[in-house]
Amino acid sequence: MSRATQRGLLGAVLLLGSWEALARGLALPAYTLPAISDIILATWQHRSLLASAGWYTLAEALLGYAIGCTAGITLATLLILLPPARRVVMPAMLAINAVPVAAWSPLVLLWLGIGMASKVAMVALAVGFTIFLSALAGFDRQDRRAADLLRSFGAGPIALLFRLRLPAALPLIAAGMRVATVRSLIVAIVTEMLGAQGGLGWIIYQAVVQIDFVQVWSAILVASVLSLSFFGLITWLEQRIIFWR
């Protein structure tokens, strides 16, 4: 075990330890800050409920993520291939992006209802923009000399794209995709808390209303684990695919 990992574990242990000590020592009521041991116990007790809610939210996040990534990369590619389109579309894109993601939630909920569709749409929006901007930045970072060289060999814009720009942009796209994993779950949960039929955000909302704060923290714990797992999965996939990093 490396030094860094050891210290990381030490940090975690210290944090959890002081949390438990604070909660028990000050005899804090559950509605202020429950003890971490209570939270873990409750999570285990309600594991089936939390698991199904977790799958529900994860499904929304994954679907939105997939749609967002595809749309973001496709749009960035189109704008690179058609520079005039870029000048027209970019201002609109920046305008939509200027509105904080959270501000779109009420509108999307009114449009698409409280089923999964609204959550998928919100995640796709948030992820799509992150990926779109990363991809655009990646494509812009081209090596002029390499591009000129390929062009001197008669390569057209499409060939240039696939052989030079796309591979060069991959690191930035990959970075964007990693950041977007965590965002996707958070956006799904935030939207669920405004109106949903299931999912972790829904559990949190119900728990607050039923004055069950241990349940709130249990749901947060599950959400955290899912986020980290998703993040880990994408990072692992990227290391396999982008082998020259």
């Binding site: 202020t32 200027a98 779109w104 009114l110 947060i220 959400a223």
Partner: protein
Amino acid sequence: MMQLRALLRGVVGLLLAALLWEGAVLALHIRPEYLPRLSTILAAMAATPGAYWDGFLRTLAETLLGFAAGGFVGVLNGVIFLRLPALRDMLFPIFIVSQTIPVIAFGALVVLWFGNTLLAKAVIAFYLTFFPVTVNTLLGLNAVDPRQVALLRSFGAGPGTILRRLQLPAALPQIFVALRLAASLSLVGAIVGEWFGDTIGLGVLLLQAMYNENVVSLWAAILCAAVLGTGFYAVVAYAERRIVFWGAEQ
């Protein structure tokens, strides 16, 4: 002259977009429940300008406070972690995990602890911004050419001097990348924070409009948020261009 032309282009672009909006709604018979006419929205704002203006200012204040705190603490963290790698190893994983917790989930607790104040919203905004700034500061500081550090040290420069004169300036481009991101994130934090029983703010207007099914008011609040977001981002980007004049990394 260049800036004036760019400004004019921007204004013309906005006007065209406005006309397109109005035209599309009329021509395509879009129902007002989905997308009202821009003129209707602007009229609604003009009918009760106080609410939108006060909301704009309040949200701006929360955003600025959270941004400033998050930016300052983020840079501080980066510097501390550079000097004390042991601390970085201990705290970084915790920070990462903290960022996976949807802050809205313990927003109720934030209100309990900090009350219904500007501070509570600023705390949420701070929470969203400090981590990206920390990460990028560390990235920037670590990217400094070690040979330059060694050179300065050979001239007898202490760690404080090296930090001030070499490392921080060299890290600035990367720090600003994070600050531009933080500009949008602190606004999100402020808006979400206002959903916990606040009285004034753009987030409050959004929530009221949603629960009253007032789509016109909802779009009005969205427009105000867009103006705030774009304006703040532009200010930070401008500061970046002036301060980091040797070229910003994307």
